[in-house]
Symmetry: C2
């Protein structure tokens, strides 16, 4: 859009929105226009919410979660099982597990996966701090659940972490592979079907 069509304020808003995942240039324009039309109910609240988030949100120095407190709500919650540590790639995975109510324990966010091609090595992920949490003298960790994505990068990272944890007296587990709940066999890949057969259970 040429600068002459509208003021630089709208143009800047469009450019920022276009950098969000899931929004391209066209949908960013639609979103900006929608915001401008709903100034009081949407644009002003967005300005306030993003300012507050920018000022108050921090990364938990223990687990890598994002929250307004450090340690985060999950690390500070005394009702959570301290003996189990769920290792995830990203905060979004932590949120997904919490939405599912799948576990009630502590987390450790790696912040990505090993990717030599992108120059991401072990030092770029929160792996050293994971080893520290598992080996500290006052450590309460008895089990580490490696809950990374079932992708090549995720599994490579999982292998590396298992290697690094060797010799440490914690139980190391990983998520089960199998048929997703609600999934149809006909649409599943061979790897998933093979894993589901291999890990079949008695009924």
């Amino acid at each position: 859009m040429a600068k002459s069509v509208t003021g630089p304020e709208i143009e800047r808003l469009i450019q920022i929105l276009a950098r969000l995942p899931g929004l391209g240039p066209r949908s960013a324009r639609r979103a900006a226009l929608h915001l401008i039309k709903k100034r009081e109910t949407l644009l002003e609240p967005l300005a306030t919410a993003s300012r507050e988030a920018a000022e108050r949100v921090k990364v938990c120095s223990t687990c890598g979660n994002v929250d307004t407190s450090d340690p985060c709500t999950l690390c500070a919650d005394p009702r959570r099982d301290e003996s189990v540590l769920v290792v995830v790639e990203d905060v979004s995975d932590l949120w997904a597990l919490e939405r599912a109510g799948a576990v009630n324990c502590r987390y450790h966010v790696l912040g990505g996966t090993l990717s030599p091609l992108d120059g991401i090595g072990p030092d770029d992920l929160n792996i050293a701090s994971l080893i520290d949490r598992a080996t500290a003298e006052d450590s309460t960790v008895r089990e580490i659940v490696i809950a990374v994505n079932a992708t090549v990068e995720g599994q490579t990272t999982a292998h590396y972490i298992v290697d690094r944890l060797e010799g440490i007296a914690v139980r190391i587990t990983r998520l089960a592979h199998g048929v997703p709940v609600g999934g149809e066999l006909d649409y599943l890949d061979e790897g998933t079907l093979a894993a589901a057969i291999k890990s079949r259970s008695a009924v």
Copy 2:
């Protein structure tokens, strides 16, 4: 997402982003996390840009465009042809025509289409101000291009406007129907093909 997972600031940001067109709850969470991770390059600029837009953007009292000045840049531009008025449904249509560089004249934004079922009548659109612009004593308007969408609602609105403009000494035109540039005949609907044949031109 339960409130215990993260602070209310992030939750509020997600809720606002989820109300943007093109973003659902899941993509809003991804977008919020992306913003938080890029605090300095994305979240803070978004806070500033949305605050500035909320404070400075206004609706042009002449044409209905959104801009930081009133009259807007387009209405105030002396190089534009004052004798032609392009009537569009929405500011996004005005932006689209400007991006295309299709015209260099004035606009009039209706702010929607007639929709009796939704309770949107002529008084809810900027139709009275259009008539005023066409009939004012010092009016320079010689042609009104009705550039509404080629939808049922758009065409209903176009018919209504043509009726209202009857007897006023301006030329009323509408956009051409035909094959979109780059379009394949096999994928076009019958109405478009019929219109393209009917309006065929000599080569």
